[in-house]
Amino acid sequence: MTVMPTKVAHALERAWTGWRPERHSHGNVGQRFDFAFPVQRHWGARVAFYLYLGGTGAGFVFLEVLLRWFGVLGERTAAVGMWLGLALALLSILAIFDHLGPVVRWSAYFAFRRPRTSWISRGVIIVTTLVLLRLLVALPTAPGAGGLPWAEGTVLGTLLRALVIACALAFMFYSGLVISSWNAIAFWNTPLLSVLFVGFSFLGGLAALPAIAWVVEGLPAMRGVGAVVWPYVLALLAANGIVLALYIHGMSTATRPARVSVRMLLEGPVRRRFIGGVVVLGLLAPAVVVTSEVIGLLGGDIGAAVLLTGAIAAIEVGGYFLRDVVLRVGVYGPPV
Protein backbone atom coordinates (compact mmCIF):
# COMPACT_ATOMS: atom_id res chain seq x y z
CA MET A 1 0.00 0.00 0.00
CA THR A 2 1.55 3.31 -1.03
CA VAL A 3 0.55 6.64 0.46
CA MET A 4 1.49 8.78 -2.49
CA PRO A 5 4.32 8.63 -4.99
CA THR A 6 7.33 10.03 -3.13
CA LYS A 7 8.34 12.28 -6.02
CA VAL A 8 4.89 13.90 -6.07
CA ALA A 9 4.90 14.39 -2.29
CA HIS A 10 8.37 15.89 -2.38
CA ALA A 11 7.52 18.20 -5.27
CA LEU A 12 4.49 19.49 -3.33
CA GLU A 13 6.66 19.74 -0.22
CA ARG A 14 9.27 21.83 -2.01
CA ALA A 15 6.56 24.17 -3.26
CA TRP A 16 5.15 24.48 0.26
CA THR A 17 8.24 24.84 2.45
CA GLY A 18 11.21 25.01 0.15
CA TRP A 19 12.26 21.69 1.70
CA ARG A 20 15.47 20.25 0.31
CA PRO A 21 17.12 16.91 1.00
CA GLU A 22 19.93 18.52 2.98
CA ARG A 23 17.53 19.14 5.85
CA HIS A 24 18.63 17.36 9.03
CA SER A 25 16.98 14.15 10.06
CA HIS A 26 14.97 14.10 13.28
CA GLY A 27 15.44 12.09 16.43
CA ASN A 28 18.47 10.61 18.07
CA VAL A 29 20.88 11.28 15.21
CA GLY A 30 24.51 12.30 15.36
CA GLN A 31 27.80 10.96 16.48
CA ARG A 32 27.55 11.30 20.26
CA PHE A 33 27.30 7.91 21.89
CA ASP A 34 26.95 8.86 25.52
CA PHE A 35 24.50 8.70 28.39
CA ALA A 36 22.46 11.85 28.73
CA PHE A 37 19.03 13.32 29.33
CA PRO A 38 18.27 14.35 25.76
CA VAL A 39 15.69 17.07 25.20
CA GLN A 40 13.04 16.24 22.65
CA ARG A 41 13.32 18.59 19.68
CA HIS A 42 10.73 17.32 17.24
CA TRP A 43 7.65 18.70 18.98
CA GLY A 44 8.14 22.46 18.81
CA ALA A 45 6.32 25.69 18.04
CA ARG A 46 3.91 24.18 15.52
CA VAL A 47 2.67 21.56 17.97
CA ALA A 48 2.43 24.27 20.65
CA PHE A 49 0.28 26.29 18.20
CA TYR A 50 -1.81 23.20 17.51
CA LEU A 51 -2.41 22.55 21.20
CA TYR A 52 -3.07 26.22 21.94
CA LEU A 53 -5.29 26.96 18.93
CA GLY A 54 -7.16 23.65 19.17
CA GLY A 55 -7.68 23.95 22.93
CA THR A 56 -8.69 27.60 22.87
CA GLY A 57 -10.86 27.08 19.77
CA ALA A 58 -12.63 24.21 21.51
CA GLY A 59 -13.00 26.42 24.60
CA PHE A 60 -14.55 29.13 22.44
CA VAL A 61 -17.03 26.75 20.81
CA PHE A 62 -17.89 25.09 24.14
CA LEU A 63 -18.55 28.39 25.93
CA GLU A 64 -20.23 30.07 22.98
CA VAL A 65 -22.77 27.22 22.68
CA LEU A 66 -23.24 26.97 26.45
CA LEU A 67 -23.54 30.68 27.20
CA ARG A 68 -25.81 31.22 24.21
CA TRP A 69 -27.97 28.42 25.61
CA PHE A 70 -28.21 30.24 28.94
CA GLY A 71 -28.84 33.60 27.27
CA VAL A 72 -25.63 35.27 28.51
CA LEU A 73 -24.32 35.95 25.01
CA GLY A 74 -26.15 37.93 22.35
CA GLU A 75 -26.85 36.21 19.05
CA ARG A 76 -24.26 38.22 17.12
CA THR A 77 -21.54 37.80 19.74
CA ALA A 78 -22.21 34.06 19.86
CA ALA A 79 -22.04 33.85 16.06
CA VAL A 80 -18.71 35.69 15.93
CA GLY A 81 -17.41 33.54 18.82
CA MET A 82 -18.43 30.46 16.89
CA TRP A 83 -16.66 31.51 13.69
CA LEU A 84 -13.60 32.52 15.69
CA GLY A 85 -13.61 29.15 17.46
CA LEU A 86 -13.97 27.32 14.16
CA ALA A 87 -11.21 29.41 12.58
CA LEU A 88 -8.89 28.57 15.50
CA ALA A 89 -9.78 24.87 15.25
CA LEU A 90 -9.13 24.88 11.49
CA LEU A 91 -5.83 26.72 12.00
CA SER A 92 -4.90 24.10 14.60
CA ILE A 93 -5.52 21.35 12.03
CA LEU A 94 -3.29 23.20 9.56
CA ALA A 95 -0.61 23.59 12.25
CA ILE A 96 -0.59 19.88 13.13
CA PHE A 97 -0.51 18.77 9.50
CA ASP A 98 2.25 21.28 8.81
CA HIS A 99 4.17 19.66 11.67
CA LEU A 100 3.36 16.06 10.88
CA GLY A 101 5.90 15.61 8.14
CA PRO A 102 6.88 16.20 4.56
CA VAL A 103 4.62 13.45 3.26
CA VAL A 104 1.66 13.52 5.63
CA ARG A 105 0.69 17.04 4.60
CA TRP A 106 -0.26 15.62 1.24
CA SER A 107 -1.72 12.37 2.53
CA ALA A 108 -3.46 13.74 5.58
CA TYR A 109 -6.12 11.04 5.63
CA PHE A 110 -3.48 8.60 6.85
CA ALA A 111 -3.40 10.36 10.20
CA PHE A 112 -7.00 9.23 10.81
CA ARG A 113 -6.34 5.51 10.56
CA ARG A 114 -5.56 4.30 14.09
CA PRO A 115 -7.92 5.89 16.62
CA ARG A 116 -7.94 2.69 18.69
CA THR A 117 -4.37 3.24 19.87
CA SER A 118 -3.00 6.53 18.57
CA TRP A 119 -3.76 9.80 20.32
CA ILE A 120 -2.79 11.76 17.22
CA SER A 121 -5.47 9.89 15.26
CA ARG A 122 -7.99 10.54 18.02
CA GLY A 123 -7.11 14.23 18.08
CA VAL A 124 -7.50 14.85 14.37
CA ILE A 125 -10.78 12.91 14.38
CA ILE A 126 -12.15 14.85 17.37
CA VAL A 127 -11.20 18.29 16.03
CA THR A 128 -12.49 17.48 12.53
CA THR A 129 -15.78 16.17 13.98
CA LEU A 130 -16.03 19.30 16.11
CA VAL A 131 -15.63 21.59 13.12
CA LEU A 132 -18.09 19.62 10.97
CA LEU A 133 -20.71 19.36 13.74
CA ARG A 134 -20.49 23.07 14.55
CA LEU A 135 -20.92 23.93 10.87
CA LEU A 136 -23.93 21.59 10.76
CA VAL A 137 -25.44 23.35 13.79
CA ALA A 138 -24.86 26.74 12.12
CA LEU A 139 -26.40 25.64 8.82
CA PRO A 140 -30.05 26.56 9.67
CA THR A 141 -28.97 30.20 10.19
CA ALA A 142 -27.77 30.40 6.58
CA PRO A 143 -30.08 32.24 4.14
CA GLY A 144 -32.64 29.85 2.68
CA ALA A 145 -31.81 27.00 5.09
CA GLY A 146 -34.22 27.98 7.88
CA GLY A 147 -36.47 24.96 7.36
CA LEU A 148 -33.87 22.41 8.42
CA PRO A 149 -35.07 20.17 11.28
CA TRP A 150 -32.19 20.98 13.65
CA ALA A 151 -32.76 24.73 14.02
CA GLU A 152 -32.28 26.35 17.46
CA GLY A 153 -34.91 25.13 19.92
CA THR A 154 -35.68 21.80 18.22
CA VAL A 155 -34.90 18.44 19.82
CA LEU A 156 -32.44 17.55 17.08
CA GLY A 157 -30.81 20.99 17.36
CA THR A 158 -30.39 20.57 21.12
CA LEU A 159 -28.92 17.11 20.59
CA LEU A 160 -26.43 18.42 18.03
CA ARG A 161 -25.43 21.26 20.34
CA ALA A 162 -24.86 18.77 23.16
CA LEU A 163 -22.64 16.77 20.79
CA VAL A 164 -20.69 19.92 19.90
CA ILE A 165 -20.15 20.61 23.61
CA ALA A 166 -19.02 17.01 24.17
CA CYS A 167 -16.56 17.20 21.24
CA ALA A 168 -15.19 20.55 22.42
CA LEU A 169 -14.71 19.19 25.93
CA ALA A 170 -13.07 16.05 24.53
CA PHE A 171 -10.62 18.11 22.51
CA MET A 172 -9.69 20.27 25.49
CA PHE A 173 -8.86 17.11 27.46
CA TYR A 174 -7.19 15.61 24.41
CA SER A 175 -4.72 18.50 24.10
CA GLY A 176 -3.25 17.40 27.43
CA LEU A 177 -3.78 13.67 27.03
CA VAL A 178 -1.92 13.50 23.71
CA ILE A 179 1.35 14.22 25.43
CA SER A 180 0.63 12.97 28.95
CA SER A 181 -0.31 9.49 27.70
CA TRP A 182 3.29 8.68 26.76
CA ASN A 183 5.63 7.73 29.55
CA ALA A 184 8.77 8.35 27.49
CA ILE A 185 8.97 11.90 28.86
CA ALA A 186 8.42 11.99 32.60
CA PHE A 187 7.58 15.72 32.75
CA TRP A 188 4.53 15.15 30.53
CA ASN A 189 3.44 11.85 31.98
CA THR A 190 0.92 13.08 34.55
CA PRO A 191 -2.88 13.52 34.44
CA LEU A 192 -2.35 16.93 36.00
CA LEU A 193 -1.11 18.16 32.61
CA SER A 194 -4.52 17.44 31.06
CA VAL A 195 -6.23 19.31 33.90
CA LEU A 196 -3.84 22.22 33.36
CA PHE A 197 -4.44 22.34 29.61
CA VAL A 198 -8.22 22.12 30.08
CA GLY A 199 -8.04 24.98 32.58
CA PHE A 200 -6.02 27.15 30.20
CA SER A 201 -8.33 26.25 27.28
CA PHE A 202 -11.38 27.34 29.28
CA LEU A 203 -9.55 30.46 30.39
CA GLY A 204 -8.51 31.37 26.83
CA GLY A 205 -12.04 30.87 25.52
CA LEU A 206 -13.89 32.54 28.38
CA ALA A 207 -11.65 35.59 28.72
CA ALA A 208 -11.97 36.49 25.04
CA LEU A 209 -15.78 36.61 25.04
CA PRO A 210 -16.12 40.14 26.55
CA ALA A 211 -13.66 41.48 23.95
CA ILE A 212 -15.71 39.88 21.17
CA ALA A 213 -18.88 41.38 22.66
CA TRP A 214 -17.19 44.82 22.64
CA VAL A 215 -16.12 44.52 19.01
CA VAL A 216 -19.45 43.08 17.81
CA GLU A 217 -22.08 44.81 19.93
CA GLY A 218 -20.33 47.71 21.65
CA LEU A 219 -19.22 48.69 25.14
CA PRO A 220 -22.57 48.05 26.93
CA ALA A 221 -22.55 44.45 25.64
CA MET A 222 -19.01 44.02 26.93
CA ARG A 223 -20.13 45.21 30.37
CA GLY A 224 -23.13 42.85 30.27
CA VAL A 225 -21.09 39.82 29.29
CA GLY A 226 -18.23 40.85 31.57
CA ALA A 227 -20.52 41.10 34.62
CA VAL A 228 -21.15 37.37 34.25
CA VAL A 229 -17.76 36.29 32.93
CA TRP A 230 -15.11 38.19 34.94
CA PRO A 231 -15.66 36.41 38.29
CA TYR A 232 -15.28 33.08 36.49
CA VAL A 233 -12.15 34.32 34.70
CA LEU A 234 -10.71 35.32 38.06
CA ALA A 235 -11.57 31.92 39.53
CA LEU A 236 -9.95 30.20 36.53
CA LEU A 237 -6.82 32.35 36.85
CA ALA A 238 -6.52 31.35 40.50
CA ALA A 239 -7.29 27.67 39.82
CA ASN A 240 -4.82 27.50 36.91
CA GLY A 241 -2.14 29.14 39.06
CA ILE A 242 -2.70 26.57 41.80
CA VAL A 243 -2.70 23.62 39.37
CA LEU A 244 0.47 24.97 37.70
CA ALA A 245 2.19 25.28 41.09
CA LEU A 246 1.10 21.74 42.04
CA TYR A 247 2.32 20.42 38.69
CA ILE A 248 5.76 22.04 38.99
CA HIS A 249 6.09 21.00 42.63
CA GLY A 250 5.04 17.43 41.81
CA MET A 251 7.56 17.21 38.99
CA SER A 252 10.32 18.72 41.13
CA THR A 253 9.96 15.76 43.51
CA ALA A 254 9.47 13.10 40.83
CA THR A 255 11.95 11.06 38.76
CA ARG A 256 15.29 12.45 37.70
CA PRO A 257 14.31 13.31 34.09
CA ALA A 258 11.29 15.21 35.47
CA ARG A 259 13.55 17.11 37.85
CA VAL A 260 15.87 17.97 34.97
CA SER A 261 12.82 19.36 33.11
CA VAL A 262 11.83 21.49 36.10
CA ARG A 263 15.36 22.84 36.36
CA MET A 264 15.31 23.72 32.66
CA LEU A 265 11.96 25.44 33.16
CA LEU A 266 13.08 27.55 36.11
CA GLU A 267 16.76 28.07 35.33
CA GLY A 268 17.28 27.13 31.69
CA PRO A 269 16.88 29.04 28.42
CA VAL A 270 13.06 29.01 28.61
CA ARG A 271 12.89 30.49 32.11
CA ARG A 272 12.04 34.00 30.84
CA ARG A 273 9.29 32.60 28.66
CA PHE A 274 7.91 30.60 31.58
CA ILE A 275 8.23 33.12 34.39
CA GLY A 276 7.63 36.24 32.29
CA GLY A 277 5.23 34.80 29.73
CA VAL A 278 3.20 32.23 31.61
CA VAL A 279 3.34 33.30 35.27
CA VAL A 280 3.53 37.10 35.10
CA LEU A 281 1.91 37.89 31.73
CA GLY A 282 -0.53 34.98 31.57
CA LEU A 283 -1.63 34.77 35.21
CA LEU A 284 -0.52 37.51 37.63
CA ALA A 285 -1.00 40.64 35.50
CA PRO A 286 -4.48 39.63 34.23
CA ALA A 287 -5.42 38.60 37.78
CA VAL A 288 -4.64 42.12 39.05
CA VAL A 289 -6.68 43.78 36.27
CA VAL A 290 -9.65 41.40 36.52
CA THR A 291 -9.69 41.65 40.32
CA SER A 292 -9.84 45.44 39.99
CA GLU A 293 -12.80 45.06 37.63
CA VAL A 294 -14.61 42.56 39.85
CA ILE A 295 -14.33 44.75 42.97
CA GLY A 296 -15.39 47.80 40.95
CA LEU A 297 -12.15 49.81 40.87
CA LEU A 298 -11.99 50.16 37.09
CA GLY A 299 -15.31 51.80 36.31
CA GLY A 300 -17.07 51.45 32.99
CA ASP A 301 -15.24 53.87 30.69
CA ILE A 302 -13.33 53.07 27.53
CA GLY A 303 -9.99 53.16 29.37
CA ALA A 304 -11.13 50.29 31.57
CA ALA A 305 -12.28 48.35 28.49
CA VAL A 306 -8.87 48.83 26.86
CA LEU A 307 -7.13 47.69 30.05
CA LEU A 308 -9.34 44.60 30.24
CA THR A 309 -8.71 43.85 26.57
CA GLY A 310 -4.99 44.07 27.28
CA ALA A 311 -5.47 41.56 30.10
CA ILE A 312 -7.32 39.27 27.69
CA ALA A 313 -4.46 39.49 25.18
CA ALA A 314 -1.99 38.68 27.99
CA ILE A 315 -4.06 35.61 28.95
CA GLU A 316 -4.00 34.38 25.34
CA VAL A 317 -0.23 34.93 25.01
CA GLY A 318 0.33 33.16 28.36
CA GLY A 319 -1.80 30.24 27.14
CA TYR A 320 0.43 29.79 24.09
CA PHE A 321 3.63 30.12 26.11
CA LEU A 322 2.43 27.44 28.54
CA ARG A 323 2.11 24.86 25.76
CA ASP A 324 5.38 26.03 24.24
CA VAL A 325 7.51 25.75 27.39
CA VAL A 326 5.98 22.42 28.43
CA LEU A 327 6.97 20.97 25.06
CA ARG A 328 10.44 22.53 25.06
CA VAL A 329 11.50 21.09 28.41
CA GLY A 330 10.42 17.52 27.58
CA VAL A 331 13.41 15.38 28.56
CA TYR A 332 13.88 11.65 28.00
CA GLY A 333 15.43 9.49 30.65
CA PRO A 334 18.52 7.41 29.83
CA PRO A 335 17.66 4.49 27.53
CA VAL A 336 18.92 1.92 30.01
Binding site: M1, T2, V3, T6, A9, H10, E13, R20, P21, E22, R23, H24, S25, H26, G27, N28, V29, G30, Q31, F33, D34, F35, P38, Q40, H42, W43, L100, G101, P102, V103, V104, S107, F110, A111, F112, R113, R114, T117, S118, W119, I120, S121, V124, I179, W182, N183, A184, I185, T255, R256, G330, Y332, G333, P334, P335, V336
Partner: protein, 216 residues
Amino acid sequence: MTRMGFTIDLERCVGCQACVIACKVENGTPRNIHWMRVLEKEVGEFPDARRTFTPVRCNHCANPPCVQACPTGAFVQRDDGVVLIHDDVCVGTMACLTACPYYVPVRYDGGGGYFGRQLTMYEDTKLSRHREGTAQKCHFCYQRLDAGRPPACVEACPADALNYGDLDDPDSVVNHLLQRRRHFRPREELGTDPSLFYLVGNGGGSVGGMDQGEAR
Protein backbone atom coordinates in the same frame (compact mmCIF):
# COMPACT_ATOMS: atom_id res chain seq x y z
CA MET B 1 4.62 -19.08 19.87
CA THR B 2 7.92 -17.50 19.06
CA ARG B 3 9.24 -14.36 20.66
CA MET B 4 12.61 -13.25 19.40
CA GLY B 5 14.82 -11.76 22.08
CA PHE B 6 18.29 -10.44 22.52
CA THR B 7 20.90 -10.53 25.27
CA ILE B 8 23.78 -8.13 25.75
CA ASP B 9 26.55 -9.15 28.11
CA LEU B 10 27.85 -5.96 29.70
CA GLU B 11 30.83 -7.78 31.19
CA ARG B 12 31.95 -9.01 27.78
CA CYS B 13 31.38 -5.87 25.71
CA VAL B 14 34.73 -4.22 24.96
CA GLY B 15 33.32 -1.21 23.11
CA CYS B 16 34.86 -2.11 19.74
CA GLN B 17 31.81 -0.76 17.87
CA ALA B 18 31.92 -3.72 15.46
CA CYS B 19 28.15 -4.16 15.92
CA VAL B 20 27.60 -0.51 14.99
CA ILE B 21 29.58 -0.85 11.79
CA ALA B 22 28.07 -4.25 10.92
CA CYS B 23 24.58 -2.79 11.29
CA LYS B 24 25.52 0.17 9.13
CA VAL B 25 26.94 -2.04 6.41
CA GLU B 26 24.05 -4.52 6.48
CA ASN B 27 21.32 -1.91 6.42
CA GLY B 28 23.08 0.99 4.72
CA THR B 29 21.76 3.50 7.22
CA PRO B 30 22.16 7.16 6.22
CA ARG B 31 24.81 9.51 7.53
CA ASN B 32 24.51 10.18 11.27
CA ILE B 33 21.79 7.56 11.70
CA HIS B 34 22.73 4.50 13.73
CA TRP B 35 20.29 1.74 14.55
CA MET B 36 22.85 0.24 16.90
CA ARG B 37 24.88 2.31 19.31
CA VAL B 38 27.41 1.58 22.01
CA LEU B 39 27.10 4.21 24.71
CA GLU B 40 30.27 5.03 26.59
CA LYS B 41 30.82 6.47 30.01
CA GLU B 42 33.88 7.11 32.10
CA VAL B 43 33.53 6.19 35.75
CA GLY B 44 35.78 6.52 38.76
CA GLU B 45 38.86 8.67 39.18
CA PHE B 46 42.51 8.12 38.42
CA PRO B 47 44.04 5.63 39.09
CA ASP B 48 40.77 3.65 39.28
CA ALA B 49 39.10 5.25 36.27
CA ARG B 50 37.58 2.98 33.65
CA ARG B 51 35.34 3.23 30.66
CA THR B 52 32.11 1.27 30.48
CA PHE B 53 30.22 0.29 27.33
CA THR B 54 26.49 -0.26 26.94
CA PRO B 55 25.15 -1.32 23.54
CA VAL B 56 21.64 0.00 22.88
CA ARG B 57 19.24 -0.70 20.07
CA CYS B 58 15.52 -1.19 19.49
CA ASN B 59 14.23 -3.44 22.26
CA HIS B 60 11.41 -4.89 20.13
CA CYS B 61 9.09 -4.49 23.09
CA ALA B 62 6.14 -6.85 23.49
CA ASN B 63 4.07 -3.80 24.40
CA PRO B 64 5.61 -1.26 22.03
CA PRO B 65 4.62 2.39 22.58
CA CYS B 66 5.71 3.24 19.02
CA VAL B 67 3.15 0.85 17.53
CA GLN B 68 0.43 2.35 19.70
CA ALA B 69 1.40 5.94 18.97
CA CYS B 70 1.69 5.62 15.20
CA PRO B 71 -1.46 7.14 13.67
CA THR B 72 -0.94 5.56 10.27
CA GLY B 73 -0.34 1.91 11.14
CA ALA B 74 3.17 2.00 9.68
CA PHE B 75 4.58 0.29 12.78
CA VAL B 76 3.67 -3.37 12.91
CA GLN B 77 4.67 -6.26 15.13
CA ARG B 78 5.32 -9.61 13.52
CA ASP B 79 4.18 -12.86 15.08
CA ASP B 80 7.72 -13.44 16.35
CA GLY B 81 7.67 -10.07 18.19
CA VAL B 82 9.90 -8.15 15.78
CA VAL B 83 8.69 -4.56 15.39
CA LEU B 84 8.94 -3.24 11.84
CA ILE B 85 8.19 0.00 10.01
CA HIS B 86 6.46 -0.13 6.65
CA ASP B 87 8.04 2.91 5.05
CA ASP B 88 5.46 2.98 2.27
CA VAL B 89 2.78 3.63 4.92
CA CYS B 90 4.87 5.88 7.19
CA VAL B 91 4.23 9.55 6.56
CA GLY B 92 6.73 10.96 9.05
CA THR B 93 4.43 12.07 11.87
CA MET B 94 7.22 11.57 14.44
CA ALA B 95 4.71 10.25 16.99
CA CYS B 96 6.98 7.22 17.40
CA LEU B 97 9.98 9.41 18.16
CA THR B 98 8.14 11.02 21.03
CA ALA B 99 6.48 7.88 22.33
CA CYS B 100 9.54 5.62 22.48
CA PRO B 101 11.17 5.91 25.93
CA TYR B 102 14.45 4.66 24.43
CA TYR B 103 14.28 7.34 21.67
CA VAL B 104 15.12 4.70 19.11
CA PRO B 105 13.17 5.66 15.94
CA VAL B 106 14.52 8.52 13.84
CA ARG B 107 13.02 10.29 10.87
CA TYR B 108 15.29 10.33 7.83
CA ASP B 109 15.01 13.65 6.04
CA GLY B 110 17.81 13.22 3.55
CA GLY B 111 21.01 15.13 3.99
CA GLY B 112 23.33 13.60 1.43
CA GLY B 113 26.19 11.25 2.18
CA TYR B 114 29.39 11.35 4.16
CA PHE B 115 31.13 13.36 1.43
CA GLY B 116 28.42 15.96 0.83
CA ARG B 117 25.53 15.98 -1.58
CA GLN B 118 27.38 13.97 -4.21
CA LEU B 119 26.82 10.36 -3.17
CA THR B 120 29.37 7.63 -3.70
CA MET B 121 28.23 4.59 -5.66
CA TYR B 122 27.97 2.64 -2.40
CA GLU B 123 25.88 5.35 -0.75
CA ASP B 124 23.71 5.71 -3.83
CA THR B 125 22.87 2.02 -3.73
CA LYS B 126 22.39 1.79 0.03
CA LEU B 127 20.46 5.02 0.49
CA SER B 128 18.00 4.07 -2.23
CA ARG B 129 16.55 1.61 0.32
CA HIS B 130 15.53 4.44 2.64
CA ARG B 131 12.59 6.64 1.86
CA GLU B 132 13.06 10.30 2.80
CA GLY B 133 10.59 11.76 5.28
CA THR B 134 9.86 8.43 6.97
CA ALA B 135 10.85 6.84 10.26
CA GLN B 136 13.40 4.08 10.55
CA LYS B 137 14.92 1.90 13.26
CA CYS B 138 16.47 -1.52 13.91
CA HIS B 139 14.32 -4.30 12.45
CA PHE B 140 16.24 -7.18 14.03
CA CYS B 141 17.70 -7.92 10.55
CA TYR B 142 14.45 -9.76 9.84
CA GLN B 143 15.65 -10.59 6.32
CA ARG B 144 18.52 -12.52 7.89
CA LEU B 145 16.31 -14.10 10.56
CA ASP B 146 13.95 -15.35 7.86
CA ALA B 147 16.96 -16.88 6.09
CA GLY B 148 18.10 -18.58 9.29
CA ARG B 149 21.05 -16.26 9.87
CA PRO B 150 21.81 -14.18 12.97
CA PRO B 151 21.41 -10.38 12.96
CA ALA B 152 24.48 -8.56 11.61
CA CYS B 153 25.43 -7.11 15.00
CA VAL B 154 25.38 -10.54 16.67
CA GLU B 155 27.44 -12.06 13.87
CA ALA B 156 30.04 -9.29 14.05
CA CYS B 157 30.57 -9.23 17.83
CA PRO B 158 34.09 -10.56 18.50
CA ALA B 159 33.52 -10.92 22.26
CA ASP B 160 30.32 -12.97 22.04
CA ALA B 161 28.63 -10.22 24.04
CA LEU B 162 25.53 -10.23 21.84
CA ASN B 163 23.20 -13.18 21.49
CA TYR B 164 19.71 -13.69 20.17
CA GLY B 165 17.07 -16.41 20.15
CA ASP B 166 13.53 -17.43 20.93
CA LEU B 167 12.55 -16.39 24.44
CA ASP B 168 9.67 -18.87 24.39
CA ASP B 169 12.02 -21.78 23.66
CA PRO B 170 13.52 -23.05 26.94
CA ASP B 171 16.48 -24.54 25.04
CA SER B 172 17.44 -21.35 23.21
CA VAL B 173 20.81 -19.71 23.80
CA VAL B 174 19.24 -16.64 25.31
CA ASN B 175 17.22 -18.65 27.80
CA HIS B 176 20.31 -20.59 28.86
CA LEU B 177 22.13 -17.30 29.42
CA LEU B 178 19.21 -15.82 31.32
CA GLN B 179 19.05 -18.86 33.59
CA ARG B 180 22.76 -18.63 34.41
CA ARG B 181 23.33 -14.91 34.69
CA ARG B 182 21.97 -11.94 36.59
CA HIS B 183 20.09 -9.75 34.19
CA PHE B 184 17.73 -6.83 33.84
CA ARG B 185 15.75 -5.18 31.07
CA PRO B 186 16.01 -1.50 30.08
CA ARG B 187 13.52 0.69 31.91
CA GLU B 188 11.22 -2.22 32.54
CA GLU B 189 9.17 -0.14 34.94
CA LEU B 190 7.59 1.71 32.01
CA GLY B 191 5.58 -1.38 31.10
CA THR B 192 6.99 -1.77 27.59
CA ASP B 193 8.01 -5.41 28.19
CA PRO B 194 11.26 -5.16 26.21
CA SER B 195 12.68 -8.26 24.53
CA LEU B 196 16.25 -7.21 25.28
CA PHE B 197 18.12 -8.34 28.39
CA TYR B 198 21.37 -6.98 29.79
CA LEU B 199 23.51 -9.60 31.48
CA VAL B 200 25.47 -8.20 34.38
CA GLY B 201 27.02 -11.35 35.81
CA ASN B 202 28.11 -11.04 39.39
CA GLY B 203 29.13 -7.47 39.02
CA GLY B 204 25.88 -5.96 40.29
CA GLY B 205 23.39 -3.74 38.54
CA SER B 206 25.45 -0.92 37.16
CA VAL B 207 25.12 0.13 33.55
CA GLY B 208 27.52 2.44 31.85
CA GLY B 209 28.72 3.51 35.26
CA MET B 210 25.23 4.75 36.09
CA ASP B 211 23.52 3.08 38.98
CA GLN B 212 20.02 2.09 37.90
CA GLY B 213 18.52 3.98 40.80
CA GLU B 214 20.33 7.11 39.69
CA ALA B 215 18.46 7.18 36.41
CA ARG B 216 15.04 6.86 37.98
